[in-house]
Symmetry: C2
């Protein structure tokens, strides 16, 4: 095993790792493949690399960064001040229309925005509330008069605002919120009203302190008909900072993290707003109370409105992936320098990253983080195409929704898992706030349940997969099913996000994956992963077939009895999408050494998924017992092969010390280790070192004989 | 499924759930088994039930509890003040000798101590530093003059002290610490010295602020011989609070949690202490520098010294289990009241705990928490016997060490996992500090790596299992091995903690576990779990057999290439020990209903372990593919069966609102849900409810025909 402990670590001042780090050959074996760092760094930065690099110059500035240990009030004030800097720089305006000073740049906006997570997740999320939710709701749900009236002040932060959707009683089920907006044609006003305690709006950023307005989601009622949830622009505080008449609220107080954001509750007692404050892009009320909408189906209208706000999920996927990359950069850098216990030598302690268990803890998570990084870039491209109008067919929008619903859960859970493993892998040092891991974990905790609860989102994905399945096979007889051809090429089936299908022949490859060599084969991995999703969905679809004929309660019970399986199928589908993105990235890597290392990492990701679900492959006859064992053995070999490249693979993320800001990843551990080793070397050389009691006893024992 | 939402929740004022809660029959099915709450509560409280109940009266007092949002300094001051209360009450003196005002009660001391976690984990751990580490080191490593000189003031908190073992450079590998204590016969003193930066003591509670003395672990050097790590009593601060000459240090500052404790670093520059400040129970230095010890082997002496400090791990196992129980009480109570989405009805939303996924998230973790609770009580009994001298043979001590090394990792990881799942299961409400889950998680994070890093501890256990294996089979021929009889009875093999063995016949039961009925069989579960550990250890032992003949480096590499397997085998062993304890607890439950429900819960725990490792059982031919599938199906059935008992099972832990202190578990959610449902019911009845647009459209569509 090659010792990389003496390698220079991440650069200390440059904002781009590619500047001063050339390709690195592994010591001792000049023929071994090596990563070309600048190339890989650029590849990881992705489609909006330059935007990201510019954003990283901003996040490298101390005044934009979190200070540990501030009180909640101090932290809130600091973040609000930082938000003004973002506004003044136009850092957060890229998605807004050019005529209002924006750039109509959807993808770049998200790329720049999600980089903020390395400065302070509170800054990221508070910015997200202001410009990604509150402002975006005015932009996407409102029309020109609304844009002209409010967007300039929203962009400049003159109007900080809350996005008042979630209520105490309804989070995931937005359609069931209790707040009402009842039209009164006599005054040409809506009355915004909170009918009971569970209908209080809750967990709203900007609600506790800074917000002077809110986009309030409420059931639109006119002429005795409830047209479902719509958004309304509602001023909530006067210039004195006090609530306006009829508006009330509470501070949510301290949270598990993100305490730079002033989350709070709001309630409304028949608050009157002009009819024109309805954000009326998808539904309008005339002066006489007549409701009209360009979308006839209330259900479709609701989901279209919600769909315009998908960018929150896009940015959480990116930010969570960045936090994972940062955590692994810290833990792998430290693990490559830290020594503990002698094993192979009397005097030299082992570098902890040379322990198999330590590698098993960190390298598979690194592989997943790479998969997510590549998948996220494709996700962002899809988002950009849809929101810029370059490609926004129903299929495109559905792909975007599916990606959002499946990638956000996987990456936000992965971030929590990775931050925790990295923290533990750094021992007590990992628990110190100064080393950042605990703070990031605390802040990212809520990413798993806001902007769509992860389990609820995965269930949505599962329902889409069931629909795809029934569309494809509803009327197909068995023969048609068997003839259904596997789509191997890079056609729409692989770029889209729907259910993949394999030819019957491919589904039998349990008998073909007989050697370790085959496990390395891209198509074998693709088949193993694809087959599992398809079969899981087909299994559940078969079990649910009778649901249509059952009374509502029994149908619900039947569905519920397979809920866990369905959510696991959705997870498997998301992992397949990530694997596909990783594979496409490997295929576009030109440098041979980088490509080889990335292929190993992709294999580790793919086979890691197979290993996690090995029982499934065995039960369904896809792998023999012998082959199943070789999966684990091959993963062990991959991990050992990747170990010498671990530092390169994290350095390639391109974070500098200004982004890491973790003393244990600064090289200080290597300095301390070297100082201690030098001390003992000199002591041994001096001849004055105390003798170990054990050695004295051994000498005595020999003499006694 | 029985709706338990209308059930009264945990009592609001009593400190004992058994006081006002009688046995509860499940509504609708009088013949269904029911838990007898008072009995189960008492069983969960365990051997030191009365001590725990008294401790819970203390932890129910607001002045002993954590206040969220304090600054680090305020929190530290508060906890120090609470420590004085503990000292004044004698709450923390049970383990100390009677003649000094203690009670010589080892088990009761830990039971009372670990209950403090529900008040504030900082209070628990800071108390642990003072009386469980610093004071306990003086007690167990010192001798009578030390006891007389320092214990009274340590007990009263007049001498707050640090336990200065860990160094920046060495945590897990204590034997390699760098601090030296060199004896100088001319002055009859030891010089305590920190030779380099990595040898600074670090992460020490009481070091940053409160400590006036420390027990410092250092390499004892006299007459040119290093006798290994010993403990020394070293004053560190004067009456003015400043460091004494030669002593220096730093504040660790903010941590991921436990910020009520003033962790810090210490270093020593030839600090002189009298020879008699060596805590000399296991090793002494005469005035002329001669070293003597009652334990000849330096290795054994070192482990004996460390062994006297095992109580830290005992109490972490208990505290982590309590935190898990608390988290599940909060999440299950809330989950049984919270409603989201309609499914089986047009108007009534589902209680979230009725969703299969929600049950899958919480009930298996409840089963594990039960297993841990019972295993912990037995662990505590073992600890009490050894430390009271009632039973402290080498075997007893080894059992204790093994239990500590295997249970502490499992329960501390389980607590983090459970606190996180509970937090997510409560959605945004779970992220509010007021609902406690995030704060407890942050505090308990470090339990996974302090008092022995979890992975390192499990590796220790694996080494013991390998030793057990080689002892049993080293000289056994195949015939002897086959005759090795399974020890089914409650003999030493089941009460001890070493490697279990099955008869060859039992090892073939893959072919016998043919029905779901058999999965329910206690002995089948025992065999499945036992066989896995034994086979895993036997496999690795076979692969390591050649290590003895290899050069050191190659032997280390060979061992390292199986490190992950070994640690997983140790985990499996710990889970088996927990399952055995759960099974013994079920067997001693007299009430038939309680016993039935506990049996289901035990089955859920046992089969859950099988399900997690299903691939292993398939690969090794222990379960057929068909049988493997029925494991999951049976778990689904168990979970559905346990659902109606979920509230009872958490209420049985006996926490009151004073311990939970989570508004979402107070019944407030049920009130809000009822208010909302009542509002809609009245609205429907009034005839003035707005009509849904969808309904209007449906009517129009009918009319148009």
């Amino acid at each position: 095993m090659v010792d990389t402990a003496q390698r220079p670590t991440t650069p200390t001042t440059s904002t781009d790792a590619s500047v001063d780090t050339g390709p690195i050959k592994i010591a001792g074996d000049p023929s071994a493949p090596a990563v070309d760092l600048p190339t890989l760094n650029r590849q990881l930065l992705g489609t909006w690399a330059d935007v990201r690099l510019a954003a990283r110059e901003l996040t490298a500035r101390p005044e934009m960064q979190r200070i540990e240990g501030l009180s909640m009030d101090e932290h809130r004030s600091r973040v609000f001040g930082q938000l003004k800097v973002l506004a003044d720089l136009g850092h957060v305006h890229r998605a807004y229309p050019k005529h209002l000073g924006g750039q109509d740049d959807q993808g770049g906006n998200i790329a720049a925005f999600e980089e903020l997570v390395t400065a302070d997740p509170s800054l990221q999320i508070k910015g997200g509330v202001q410009w990604g939710l509150f402002g975006a709701a005015v932009l996407h749900l409102g029309t020109k008069p609304h844009h002209d009236a409010w967007l300039p002040d929203i962009m400049s932060l003159k109007i900080p605002g809350a996005f008042a959707m979630t209520e105490i009683g309804h989070g995931s089920d937005v359609a069931s919120i209790g707040t009402t907006a009842t039209f009164d044609s006599e005054t040409d006003e809506f009355a915004i009203h909170t009918p009971f305690r569970a209908a209080w709006k809750d967990y709203l950023g900007n609600a506790a302190k800074d917000g002077v307005a809110a986009v309030v989601f409420a059931q639109l009622i006119t002429r005795g008909v409830n047209h479902g949830v719509h958004a309304f622009y509602v001023p909530i505080r006067g210039e004195d900072g006090a609530f306006l008449p009829g508006v009330g609220g509470e501070d949510d107080g301290l949270k598990g993290g993100l305490n730079g954001i002033d989350n709070g509750r709001l309630h409304f007692t028949n608050v009157r707003i002009p009819r024109t404050s309805l954000l009326n892009r998808y539904g309008n009320v005339d002066a006489d109370g007549t409701y009209t909408s360009s979308i006839d189906s209330p259900g479709r209208r609701f989901f279209t409105m919600l769909g315009t706000l998908v960018q929150g999920r896009v940015s959480l996927d990116g930010a969570a992936t960045q936090a994972s990359a940062l955590a692994l950069t810290i833990a792998i850098t430290y693990g490559g320098q830290r020594r503990q216990f002698t094993a192979g030598s009397e005097t030299d302690e082992e570098v902890v990253l040379d322990y198999q268990r330590h590698q098993r803890r960190l390298l598979p998570r690194l592989a997943t983080t790479y998969a997510q990084t590549f998948a996220h870039d494709e996700f962002l491209v899809t988002f950009d195409k849809v929101f810029s109008g370059k490609a926004d067919t129903d299929d495109d929008r559905q792909d975007l929704e599916t990606l959002a619903a499946v990638l956000k859960p996987l990456s936000t859970w992965h971030a929590l898992d990775t931050l925790q493993e990295a923290r533990e892998a750094c021992g007590g040092a990992g628990f110190m706030a100064a080393n950042r891991l605990v703070g990031l974990r605390a802040d990212l905790d809520v990413y798993a349940t806001f902007e769509g609860d992860n389990n609820v989102l995965l269930q949505l994905v599962a329902k889409r997969l069931l629909t795809d399945y029934s569309k494809k096979f509803a009327s197909a007889d068995v023969g048609a099913l068997a003839r259904y051809v596997v789509q191997q090429a890079a056609d729409r089936a692989y770029h889209g996000t729907g259910l993949r299908t394999l030819a019957q022949a491919a589904r039998d490859f349990g008998s073909t994956a007989r050697s370790v060599g085959q496990l390395r084969d891209t198509n074998v991995q693709r088949q193993l992963l694809t087959d599992r999703v398809e079969t899981m969905i087909a299994d559940v679809a078969g079990k649910l077939r009778s649901a249509n004929k059952l009374p509502r309660k029994q149908a619900a019970d039947l569905f519920n009895s397979h809920q866990n399986e369905l959510i696991e199928a959705a997870r498997a589908h998301g992992q397949l999408l990530q694997w596909e993105a990783f594979t496409r990235a490997v295929e576009t890597t030109d440098d041979a050494g980088t490509r080889q290392v990335l292929t190993w990492l992709r294999d580790l990701f793919g086979l890691g998924l197979v290993e996690k679900n090995l029982a499934w492959y065995l039960i369904h006859g896809r792998l023999s017992a012998q082959r199943a064992q070789s999966v684990t053995a091959y993963i062990d070999r991959l991990i050992a092969r990747l170990r010498p490249h671990a530092q390169d693979l994290v350095d390639a993320f391109g974070y500098t010390q200004e982004h890491l800001r973790a003393p244990i990843a600064s090289g200080i551990e290597l300095e301390r280790q070297n100082e201690a080793r030098e001390y003992y070397r000199k002591l041994r050389d001096s001849g004055t070192a105390p003798v170990q009691e054990k050695a004295v006893k051994a000498v005595k024992a020999v003499k006694a004989k």
